[in-house]
């Protein structure tokens, strides 16, 4: 369980987050949505101790993120930041292999190799595993980074807009893979999404943020109503239901 209590954040004069309270139970996919600048990425990086906590408390599985040794946290929580740039010339397999670093500090056991292979397979990278990262397309690179986070073998996976650079096909593939590992491996996934319909199709729960506050929280069918969406995004849009799934028509 991720427990966020009374968390605020400011950069200089700007208040990024206001008194956030949020509990994310173990298992399932939670999507963070909201307009640009809502504070989604900041919240994610606070959970992942990438930024120091200024006010409030955050704990993952009852480990407070600000005092737990970084290495211990790395075994229960993995994060993939938005637009992570890999400038090193590493092969895909090497990069994914570094996901095992928190466990053996660099020494890879046969178990580690098995997990690496499994991650490569899970994200359809087996054929690319000996290619250098820099030779991959944007989408392939993104999948390699997700695979690395997955190889970390943590219960919690935080992903910041992982669908960037992915075409329709791979966006769908990635979301389906995440759904599968949430269902089969019991992982807890917190994902920042821009495509509200992806959230509707794959998430168990949607948390909507605006100007540093949580403004709505619920299952896709509860949350995706014209009224709530207007409150979050600031304009009127239609919502239709197909196959029990709400679809937001926000294009016109």
């Amino acid at each position: 369980m991720i427990r966020i209590e009374d968390v605020s954040l400011r950069h200089g004069q700007t208040q990024i987050l206001h008194d956030i309270w949020l509990t994310i139970p173990k298992g399932g996919i939670t999507a963070l949505v909201g307009p640009n600048g809502a504070g989604k990425s900041s919240l994610l990086s606070l959970i992942a101790r990438l930024q120091p906590l200024q006010a409030g408390r955050i704990s993952v599985d009852s480990f407070p993120v600000d005092t737990t040794p970084s290495r211990d946290l790395a075994r229960i929580l993995a994060i993939l930041r938005q637009d992570s740039i890999v400038t090193s010339r590493l092969r895909v397999r090497e990069l994914v292999g570094f996901g095992r670093f928190p466990h053996g500090r660099g020494r890879l056991t046969p178990d580690d190799y098995a997990i690496i292979d499994q991650s490569l397979q899970q994200f359809d990278l087996t054929d690319l595993s000996d290619r250098f990262i820099e030779t991959l397309s944007g989408g392939q690179r993104q999948r390699a980074l997700v695979a690395m986070a997955f190889a970390q073998g943590t219960d919690y996976l935080l992903l910041d807009e992982p669908l960037n650079n992915l075409d329709m096909f791979f966006a769908r593939e990635l979301m389906r893979s995440l759904r599968r590992i949430a269902d089969e491996n019991g992982k807890t996934i917190v994902i920042v999404l821009h495509d509200i319909n992806q959230a509707s199709a794959h998430a168990d729960r949607i948390v909507a943020m605006k100007s540093g506050r949580i403004v709505a929280d619920g299952t896709p069918s509860d949350l995706l109503t014209p009224k709530t969406l207007q409150a979050v995004f600031g304009f009127q849009m239609r919502v239709e239901t197909f196959d029990d799934m709400p679809v937001v028509l926000h294009f016109r």
Binding site: S45, A48, R49, L50, P69, S70, R71, D72, L73, A74, R75, A78, I79, L80, R81, S84, I85, V86, T87, S88, R89, L90, R91, R93, E94, F98, G99, F101, P102, R105, G106, S129, D130, F132, E134, A149, Q152
Partner: protein, 325 residues
């Protein structure tokens, strides 16, 4: 790493090792005083020459080369930029400033103490460089080396100014232009400390590779990013300072060697670090031998030779780099 890649890597390693061995023997034989290896055991003077001058000189070149190449590699990891190295980012110039100040204030200080002061100054100068470099926009990767070059230039100007005022300009060229011709037994041994730093770097190779993925990724993997940064800084500063103090600065080694090795073998430092060290040794020893031969029996300092050879290699690296990277 796949089998093919491993084979390729170990082949590169073998070639590098063998080349170094050949150069090592060659370097023992080349010098003003003609000394065929055969006479070594019949002629006591020849043996003396070997032990007092040739061997220390050769070892100094190898140690310096390996150290500078590794320092460059780590510097590039810390700055997350392929185009920086100690001599072009203010590290060497800061070390010069440190040793210059010690020479002025405590003329009788020992070489070890001077090295320490130089290391401390280098640490300070490099930290300042990295702090500022991290503020530059990552979308323009050439700004960082540019900043480093001018930053080094400004510190260098300060060094020149102080040296000029104190009438120490001749001393200065000893530190600013690498030259092995003065290396004798008893005057290069500090460089082994640099070798120690190389070993330390090799021990934390995996962490360095992760550092290169960026701050967020390394924290995400549970690495103590700040401490690794400090360790890296210390390694870079000590190696650069020792080179400056003992033989003088040699440009470009830390730049071209890691870049070429990265092209050939990638950036997984567990695998590439030894090759980087050996290749650095080859380059410096090779340039030193070249400097001894070009205008035999006069010698050309290795720093000058390297400025030409390394500069050409670097330009070649810059312009043949494929545009998509």
């Amino acid at each position: 790493m796949s089998i093919a890649a491993t084979k390729q890597a170990s082949k590169t390693g073998w070639v590098a090792g063998l080349t170094l061995a050949v150069l090592f023997v060659f370097s023992l034989c080349v010098g003003v005083d003609d000394m065929p290896i055969i006479r070594l055991f019949s002629d006591g003077r020849a043996l003396e020459l070997l032990l007092v001058s040739r061997l220390p000189r050769t070892l100094a070149a190898i140690l310096t080369g390996a150290g500078l190449a590794i320092a460059g590699l780590i510097m590039q990891t810390l700055a997350r930029n392929r185009y920086v190295e100690p001599s072009t980012a203010g590290t060497a110039q800061s070390a010069e400033l440190g040793i210059l100040l010690v020479t002025l204030l405590l003329p009788s200080a020992s070489l070890l103490f001077k090295s320490l002061a130089a290391s401390a100054a280098a640490l300070l100068g490099t930290s300042l460089f990295l702090m500022t470099a991290h503020r530059l926009p990552p979308t323009q990767p050439f700004l960082v080396p540019l900043f480093g070059l001018v930053y080094g230039g400004v510190i260098g100007a300060a060094v020149t100014f102080v040296a000029w005022q104190a009438d120490l300009l001749q001393y200065l060229s000893v530190w600013t232009n690498g030259d092995f011709s003065g290396v004798l037994r008893g005057r290069y041994e500090l460089l082994w400390l640099g070798a120690l730093m190389v070993v330390v770097a090799w021990m934390v190779a995996d962490r360095l590779t992760i550092m290169a993925l960026g701050r967020d990724a390394s924290i995400g993997l549970g690495l103590d990013h700040a401490r690794m940064l400090q360790l890296g800084l210390i390694i870079v500063s000590v190696i650069s300072a020792l080179s400056v103090v003992v033989v003088g600065m040699i440009p470009f080694v830390g730049l071209v060697v890691p870049n070429i090795v990265s092209r050939l073998m990638g950036d997984n430092m567990r695998g590439t670090l030894p090759t980087v060290a050996v290749s650095g040794a080859i380059l410096v020893l090779g340039c030193d031998i070249l400097g001894r031969l070009i205008r035999y029996p006069y010698e050309i300092p290795v720093g000058t030779v390297m400025g030409c050879v390394g500069g050409l290699i670097f330009l070649w690296l810059l312009f043949r780099r494929p545009s998509h990277v």
